[in-house]
């Protein structure tokens, strides 16, 4: 059984087939990218994986486990974390608080203990904080620790969102267009971080991306989608050379 498998998954909104019988599998330690024009169903696949949507057909496997029926809030606990295309940070909280929310799936303390803030809670908090500090160090975010998200620039928020996902110590991280809205330099940084996530933290990366230079630089394998259907898959160069993909992008 491979590390992560999508098996014939479909998603239908009324008459529209957003995802149509898509299958692929991701190997452990891989950087796997889904590309495709706007509206191809890339983000829908992510939303299916993080269980925000229910698939109309097909199955999802994480390792040996069938996660098609797992409620969304338990996905993080299984070791799948994600970022969002348009950034879904907790705007009116500090970065530190945001990252600590990333630790939520590892929370062990009970409500009554927290109300009294027993030593066990303090101990757990310190442990969470230590982990968060590691991520801050890793992504070089020290300067923003006590800053409110609402006041931070877009590029930084993108990184913070990635940091929040990393705080949950995932095995698989889903990055939804990590470079969108970033300038060239920031995109460069992003490509380094994505590779570091895989090489230093050993986390498998599944991402949706438009920027083909970034895709070419980091991806091991690429899957191209159009109108919810798989067009091609393989190495970046193979996929880009595929006639259907070229047709889809050129609109022919």
């Amino acid at each position: 059984m491979s590390f992560f498998t999508v098996d014939g998954i479909s998603l239908q909104f009324g008459g529209l087939k957003a995802v149509d019988n898509v299958s692929f599998s991701v190997a452990k330690g891989e950087i796997f990218t889904i590309i495709g024009p706007n509206g191809a169903g890339k983000t829908s696949i992510f939303n299916l994986i993080s269980r925000l949507y229910n698939p109309t057909a097909g199955k999802l496997f994480f390792g040996d486990q069938d996660i098609t029926e797992v409620p969304p809030h338990q996905i993080a606990k299984l070791g799948i974390a994600r970022t969002f295309q348009n950034i879904e940070l907790f705007e009116n909280a500090t970065m530190l608080a945001n990252l600590l929310v990333g630790r939520h799936c590892h929370a062990t303390t009970q409500l009554w203990q927290e109300m009294l803030f027993l030593p066990s809670v303090r101990h757990a908090e310190r442990a969470h904080r230590r982990k968060v500090e590691e991520v801050i160090e890793f992504l070089d975010l020290q300067a923003y620790r006590d800053k409110l998200i609402a006041g931070l620039p877009y590029g930084v928020r993108k990184v913070i969102e990635m940091a929040r996902a990393l705080c949950s110590e995932p095995k698989l991280i889903l990055l939804d267009e990590p470079s969108s809205g970033l300038n060239v330099e920031e995109t460069d940084d992003m490509s380094f971080w994505i590779r570091d996530i895989r090489s230093e933290l050993g986390i498998t990366v599944l991402m949706v991306e438009h920027d083909m230079t970034l895709v070419n630089r980091v991806s091991d394998r690429v899957l191209a989608l159009n109108y919810g259907k798989v067009l091609a898959s393989g190495t970046p160069s193979e996929v880009q050379a595929h006639p259907d993909v070229i047709a889809a992008y050129l609109g022919a």
């Binding site: 983000t43 939303n47 925000l52 969002f84 348009n86 879904e88």
Partner: protein, 291 residues
């Protein structure tokens, strides 16, 4: 059976009252996402305006009606300019609080200006009764039904088929985008408040023979119209009418067939049930955030 039909008809009449007030809520919410808690009090003020024109100045009913509606439209515009515009875009609940404050203010001021006694005006609808077989419908209620239906249709058509209406809908979807598209957002919002206050004035005038004119009339009726607007789906004009009708009919039937006390809570129980099944009301758009 006759009892049932009679209650149904009474319920429809009552429902139109709620629908008429709910319409005012819906209009403002539609355009600015502000829930105007002073809507009932605008209605109350409309009643006092018409009393001033007809009862004190001795004008003809229809002329007084017209003056009251125009006067309230100006008042609505002024309210928007002074109270709402400076805080538009701040947390919604803050604006709601401001309208609650406005409600307190208007109720007390009305009491100080027009006194605490209940007032009445003579209207063409005050006394007459329409009889169809054994079925009875008073003219005052009939006038409310007719007015509600007319206002709902006119406003519905206005929103859907005129340029200004389209501009208003655009504004309500996305104010910033509307602004960039060259829609005079400020004027649109002003106009919405004017229309809403005018609708409230209509309600106040038409209800005057039924509820009399006093400074607390808006508080209670506003509280009944509010669930009507929500039941229909806040932001939907036909929804306001349908929501009002449902609440009115339930109240009437519960008052007749159930033990005392149920009349007042039956509408709320139905409201809760509907909301559990349809969290955005009957006609509310069920939108989903895109991520």
């Amino acid at each position: 059976m006759l009892d049932f039909i009679q209650q149904l008809v009474s319920g429809i009449a009552l429902g139109c009252v709620y629908g008429l007030i709910a319409l005012g809520f819906v209009l403002i919410y539609k355009a600015t996402e502000v829930v105007n808690f002073a809507q009932g009090d605008l209605m109350m003020l409309g009643g006092f305006f018409v009393f001033t024109f007809i009862g004190l100045m001795g004008l003809d009913y229809w002329l007084g009606f017209l003056f009251a509606v125009c006067g309230m439209a100006v008042f609505g515009m002024a309210t928007e300019r002074i109270l709402v515009r400076p805080i538009l875009g701040y947390p919604q609940f803050s604006i709601v609080m401001a309208t609650i404050g406005l409600g307190y203010f208007l109720r007390s001021i009305a009491g100080m200006i027009w006194g605490t006694d209940d007032l009445r005006i003579e209207t063409p609808f005050s006394a007459g009764v329409l009889k169809i077989g054994d079925l009875v419908l008073a003219h005052d209620k009939l006038s409310v039904i007719v007015a509600t239906v007319i206002l709902c249709s006119v406003l519905y058509a206005f929103f859907n088929y005129t340029r200004m209406g389209t501009a208003m809908r655009a504004t309500s979807e996305n104010m910033l985008a509307a602004y960039y598209m060259g829609i005079p957002v400020k004027r649109v919002v002003s106009l919405i408040w004017a229309i809403s206050a005018a609708v409230a004035a209509c309600a106040g005038v038409l209800l005057a023979p039924i509820t009399f004119i006093h400074s607390n009339v808006g508080l209670v009726l506003g509280l009944k119209a509010f669930p009507a607007a929500v039941l229909g789906g806040f932001g939907s004009i036909p929804g306001a009418l349908v929501g009002g009708l449902i609440i009115g009919i339930i109240e009437s039937l519960a008052g007749f067939y159930l033990p005392q006390g149920w009349k007042d809570i039956a509408p709320y129980i139905v409201l809760l049930v509907v909301l559990v099944v349809r969290p955005h009301g009957l006609f509310g758009p069920s939108m989903r955030k895109k991520v």
